[in-house]
């Protein structure tokens, strides 16, 4: 059994230790917010935080996170309690198809935790591992910089679609 913390709760799995963390989280623990895009660490759709660092979980064996703290998009915020980045993603209408956005947001959250006032170049460098096939890049960048600058004051009460 491999034990680790998943969004704050201790979990244990009997999956093969070589199974990538992404599939353990999606198929064993049924958290489907983190996505499969390439299986080779090239697109960033599977990004989660392991002890606060953004990593590509499609190439990380679950054995490597034994005893560690794993955070997924579900642990970052929820529809009725959005993380500031998620609120900015909404306000700026960042997503198009939305498939890459969990990974984008996890990379962005790790960046801002490390560097609360990134330059545009810092954002480019931190986000270059995350592909958005719909091409939402200008909005992703705008949302990250807006959160860093404290420019967005999201109020869930003004957004009826959030309250379902």
């Amino acid at each position: 059994m491999i034990e680790f913390k998943l969004n704050g709760k201790t979990v244990a799995t009997a999956d093969d230790p070589n199974t990538p963390l992404l599939w353990v989280v999606r198929d064993t623990f049924k958290l489907k917010g983190s996505k499969f895009g390439c299986g080779a660490g090239l697109c960033g759709a599977c990004t989660m935080h392991v002890d606060g660092t953004a990593i590509r979980t499609c190439t990380t064996p679950v054995a490597a996170v034994a005893g560690k703290d794993v955070t997924t998009i579900e642990g970052l915020g929820t529809p009725d309690n959005l993380h500031p980045l998620q609120a900015a993603w909404h306000d700026i209408s960042v997503p198009q198809c939305g498939y890459c956005q969990s990974g984008q947001i996890m990379s962005a959250a790790a960046l801002l935790a490390d560097n609360p006032s990134p330059s545009e170049d810092d954002v480019d460098a931190a986000m270059a591992g995350n592909i958005c096939r719909c091409g939402c890049y200008p909005r992703i960048k705008k949302a990250i910089l807006a959160v860093a600058a404290g420019e967005l004051a999201y109020d869930a009460a003004t957004h009826p679609e959030v309250q379902a």
Binding site: P20, L82, L85, S93, P95, I131
Partner: protein
Amino acid sequence: MSTVNLSRRGFLRTTSVVGGGLVVGFSMSGCAEAPYPIDVMEGGYLPNAFLQLTPDNKITFYCPRDEMGQGVTTGLSTLIGEELDFDPARFDIAWPGVHSAYNNPDMGVQATGGSNSIKAHWTQLRQVGANTRALLLEAASQDLGVPTANLSTDDGHVVANAKRYPYGQFVATAAGLQAPEAAPLKSVSEFKFIGKEMPRVDAVLKSTGTAQFGIDVDIPGMVHAVVKRSPVAGASLKSFDASRAEQMPGVTDILEISNGVAVVAETYWQAKTAADAVRTEWNDTPLSGVNSAQVRADYAAAMAGEDGVVDKDEGDVEAGLAAADTVHEAEYWAPYLAHAALEPMNAVVRIEDGKAEVWSGVQGVVGAEGLVARASGIDPENIRVHNAYLGGGFGRRGTFGHITEATEIAVATGKPVQLLWTREDDMRHGVYRPASLMRIRAGVDSDGRVTTWDAKRVGGNQTTTTVGNMIPALFPGLGDGVADFAKGTADSIFTSWMADPSSLEGLYEDYDFEHLKVAHTTVDHGLPLTFWRSVGHSYTAFAIESMIDELAHEAGIDPVELRLMNTQNNPRLNNVIRVAGEHWKKMQPSAGRHLGFAAHNSFATDVAEIAEVSVENGQIRVHKVLCVLDCGIAVNPDIVRAQIEGGVMYGLTAALHGAIELEGGAVKESNFHNYPILRMNEAPEVEVIIVDSGTDPTGVGEPGLPPIAPAVANAVFAATGQRLRSLPLSLNA
């Protein structure tokens, strides 16, 4: 004011409030009683196929089109909410199953594509909203004893004597009434939601990991399948050896299916690992052994040879060229491309008690239903298709081979199964944007009029494969032989009798040529082809807009002036060129940066783009793109901007990186390291200017794409004096 003529039987008449199960009503065609494939909620009332109201004043909108990122859930709920007088952000949004009531009015099938969803539903869904509001007002009038003339509405409420009553309060009475068919529609000046700034309705779901994509579907007892396919498209299996794979943990079944060898296991990872251990041998096909260099050589030979089909022949091009002041000829190349949607193809199929269910995000649930029927022998009436959010479409999810594969596996194993393609499967076993070789000869007179245009394209026809894939899906009762015959017939028609409109679209229509010849020669090596975001325009715009730039330089005329002079017959395009041209004149790029201009009409929308580009050490860098477009009324201006931004980025990936190459008939590229996608550090700033012409809406999902490659190529010419006529653009070629 426009109204839509819906027959009396066109609307579902539910005469009582229903407690559960499927609602029985009348089909839109009026020919038969048919259940709407949606689940009715406790106390739910369905005034028509698109809405369900419950007494707690929740309203569910059954979105007839597929959401692949283009914002169709926001756009269509805005149309219906505008007339229903209900904040579009408050709808619950759900996907209906297959029913003709949800057909795309512009296509006649339940499918999504061609950038036409807003245009196609513009009148229909506003009319549905208006009729439903009128029905609720009539019910409120009866319940409250107030004449309808003294009633108004406000965001989901009927207002009477300054008091607000939720719509849900009147559903029981409304259920006993006949809905009007042609309630008056608002004028543009009365719009509360259309044309206003409003966030996407799916933005929160898609920012919290809670939007359900096909890949996220997980049903009890589900096993996982990975398929090993032929590296060369269409090859049949000669033999396979699964002796190692059979011994691997979790593997439950290994079986031959029509398209390869399926490995089924308890988890995806087990199935994938075991599939890697299966050894296969394949028979040869005509595509086996074909390399990219041969494709290009065969196209060049066909270009030099006789025309397959002359599609347009107006005036006299030889006389026009002889009389021209400037004559110029050039050839342009565009390679095969993959869609590379980020969510790999996948489907869940469950077959139980003679009934089938399929879950998959597709650009046309009717096609999924047809293929399940064909592969399982189950009647369409006993098949339920559940759509989901699409992790990118771009044309790829209009071809449904994965549905056939998943169904065959579910039938053979008797288990509910999720089939998932790997990224490598997706890159190598897809359907591709055709490669194209295009030649243009053009003549300009001494006044700067482009009098003569002699254009020819060589390549495969994307409609053939697409139709070949659609026929078995749309007509599951047809035998395989008939479907193959129809595909073969389409093939020979487009080779010898008429050009496939998708092959040539965009190659000549924008300009006022006096002498015009457009020819086509089909050369098809057998790689499966289909529509790719903006279809033919994705390559023809590169040729035409590069050529116009070349002509302007040859003739010594400003490229914007030349376009203005020669687009008099296309006033809306002429106007966006004029508006963009004002910026063109004023823009002062900083040192080392250069501008390129291009304009194009596609999907009834006119777009002009200016690219600001630098070239350093042979590297092309696009810094900024200005887009001016006219798409009629912008239902959601921010989504229009987003779609144009996205079209530019998708087009830049193709302009700077994209190429699918063949080696021994197999696709060489496999993942994002050798089929690179534009990343944030390469993404330009994009400014979008919407010209408000006030006309009915036209497409925005695709039209942003075609002008970007030529705009960048024209800027590279301005920067370097080098004319790049092959995609992807490379200064080292």
